[in-house]
């Protein structure tokens, strides 16, 4: 900085503008990463398709339609504006399925949750969204099992099993909050869902709409408050 110019707040010699900018940007990065509990910025290997993201945002909003979002949904397919948050740090997570092993009548789907979230948050709600393809009229039974790693060995144990009757193509939801919370409790970060149908039905998911009707889990979580000791 020119001689004799000093920082008005601390009286030290002011930084040259370029150096000051670098310091502030480094501070901004560190501040955001630390508040997101990230060591470094994530390296994105696979991006969720815009179609799947928009569909998921619409589905998760359809329960509590928010006037600020639905008319404001930009026609250019952009992501709706975020609503101003409240004081406590809460998270909404959309985890899209990774395909696991599958046969003609059984499909495995995996959902991962990052360590930063699994270790420091409590799950308030988690819902599995599935879009059914139906081969034809009538009712088609589907068994949905939530599997979790067996602490005693390499196998998976069934955490819960649900029988669904599918009559027409469309979205179905299943509450998986307890399963995700118990996974986090065991230090695991991966939820496996097994869908089983009768032999002659084939894959129960609408694979042809893979990009915008792909299964996902929408979870709401809240940062665990650090243990506070109240002293009077």
């Amino acid at each position: 900085a020119p001689k004799g110019v000093w920082c008005p707040a601390c009286g030290l010699t002011a930084l040259a503008p370029a150096a000051q900018r670098d310091v502030l940007i480094a501070l901004a990065k560190q501040s955001i990463l630390s508040k997101l509990r990230l060591q470094d910025r994530p390296n994105i290997t696979q991006m969720t398709s815009r179609g799947a993201l928009l569909t998921a945002l619409r589905r998760t909003r359809v329960q509590h339609v928010d006037a600020a979002i639905s008319p404001g949904m930009p026609r250019d397919g952009g992501i709706p504006r975020l609503r101003p948050g409240i004081g406590l740090q809460e998270y909404e997570i959309l985890s899209f399925a990774e395909s696991g092993s599958s046969t003609s009548h059984r499909v495995h789907l995996h959902f991962r949750f990052a360590q930063e979230l699994a270790g420091n948050t409590e799950i308030l709600q988690a819902t599995l969204y599935l879009f059914w393809a139906v081969p034809g009229p009538g009712t088609h039974p589907v068994t949905v099992r939530l599997l979790q790693p067996d602490p005693m060995g390499p196998n998976m144990t069934v955490a819960s099993e649900t029988q669904l009757e599918v009559q027409r193509p469309g979205w179905a939801t299943l509450d998986v909050g307890q399963a995700v919370q118990s996974l986090f409790g065991q230090g695991s970060q991966r939820l496996t869902v097994e869908l089983e149908v009768l032999e002659d039905w084939g894959s129960p998911l609408l694979a042809s709409h893979r990009d915008s009707h792909w299964p996902f889990v929408a979870a709401q979580a809240r940062a665990r408050m650090p243990h506070r000791v109240q002293r009077r």
Binding site: K29, P84, Q89
Partner: protein
Amino acid sequence: GIDCSGDSRMCCRKEFFVDFKEIGWEDWIIQPEGYHMNYCVGLCPLHMAGIPGLAASFHTAVLNLIKANNADAAVDSCCVPTQRRPLSLLYYDRDGNIVKTDIPDMIVDACGCT
């Protein structure tokens, strides 16, 4: 609060916008486009310290009493945020999940003297 302008030396709010595209973060932060990392800077001479409306608070009232009764006992006064709001982020985490969170008190809207 007062926004810094020109060569004002008094306590004010300095705007500073970090564009995520400029720092190469636009691939993992979906929204917003940047972060208003405003900060407070400037002097808080005693006659400005604790003027109600700048950082009106209980401490200000106590300080005013000390000043009124004993000018040299008054402590220094600092230029601090008096109004802040959350930073809402929609981002990819390292597993490719989409996360939305509101980080409280990240954006300074106003500054004042304690």
